[in-house]
Symmetry: C2
Subunit: 218 residues, 2 copies
Amino acid sequence: MNKAVILLSGGLDSATTLYFARKKGFSCHCLIFDYGQRHKKELRSAKKIADLAHSKWQVVKISLPWKGSALLDKNIKIQTKLQNIIPLTYVPARNIIFLSFAFSYAEAIGAKVIFIGANAIDYSGYPDCRPLFLKAFEKAAASGTKTGAEGRPIKILTPLIDKTKSEIIKLGINLGVPYRFTWSCYKGGKIPCGKCDSCRFRGKGFRQAGLRDPICKQ
Amino acid sequence: MNKAVILLSGGLDSATTLYFARKKGFSCHCLIFDYGQRHKKELRSAKKIADLAHSKWQVVKISLPWKGSALLDKNIKIQTKLQNIIPLTYVPARNIIFLSFAFSYAEAIGAKVIFIGANAIDYSGYPDCRPLFLKAFEKAAASGTKTGAEGRPIKILTPLIDKTKSEIIKLGINLGVPYRFTWSCYKGGKIPCGKCDSCRFRGKGFRQAGLRDPICKQ
């Protein structure tokens, strides 16, 4: 079985991506990041989902003491309205850091592909979720890694990149993704706030798919 | 004063780069990585050098549990002869990871440039030291960061990229780099081994510059 590294956050998109990769026949090695996020409870979700998918997982703990994001700094309020700018929940260079570790892990274990659940349709407008960035990063990594220099570049696969949230959910339901264990809310409270970007996209996705979100009461 | 982020390892190249950036008038913010390297004593050197340069520093601790390098795994022998291949001291995606954090830090503090002491002349052949990679990474980061998306991309500056080791040392001497506090040896013992790639390049550099290495007896 070919190995794949999966960036797994515990949210809806990355869980779907993991199940998609498994379905494609990969032996999945999940990377879970503990980076000081206020919705740290997503880590529990990530581990649970990886276990349910019979996949290996590894938690990487990193510190970003400079913060610079509402997800890392409780003094910055999480916006509850979408605006036409990059929101305050943007974490400086987050996916750049996550992908860097993914390339390191993939090289070390001999994986040829990295799966990331990035999505550029129903998303918060983070620049590190755009195909433009992901392609450029893949190219940079090809020139900066041993495998790349030896002509065996590692690929970044983004099966959800151009899907709407409801399409992702429908795909996930078909794949058997246990959405009841996923966590999306940025606030990380006992129940989802229903108001942050992440909750709103998730809610819209389930509504448009004509399904009930198993982690919400309504 | 414009801010700059400096990747500082405690070795000769990064110390010279820090002093070069200071000379250029930047307010320097050094990033020092504790990544499980066996020559961990370079961290002490890095802090000392940053202090002597009156620069801020920040240690980022990261774990690479998958190892995959002689610098991280004591079961892999450090080669003592240069070979025409990427050596076993290559750490998968190391500079990719370091630069990722540097971009995150730079964005958070409002620095417009990142200095890295990468060198593609007297070096071990690591692919992540090549101009090809550094340019590609800068481009990827421009498309994946808020500053980049807003038309204010952060630049990677590599003042040593095409200098020989002896040219670097001569430059550093002029800049007042305290080479007696730098540490280069991969083995991290009490005194430099004199045999690893890093010691050999350093030794050659001082010899060709007609200078005595202050940390060596001979």
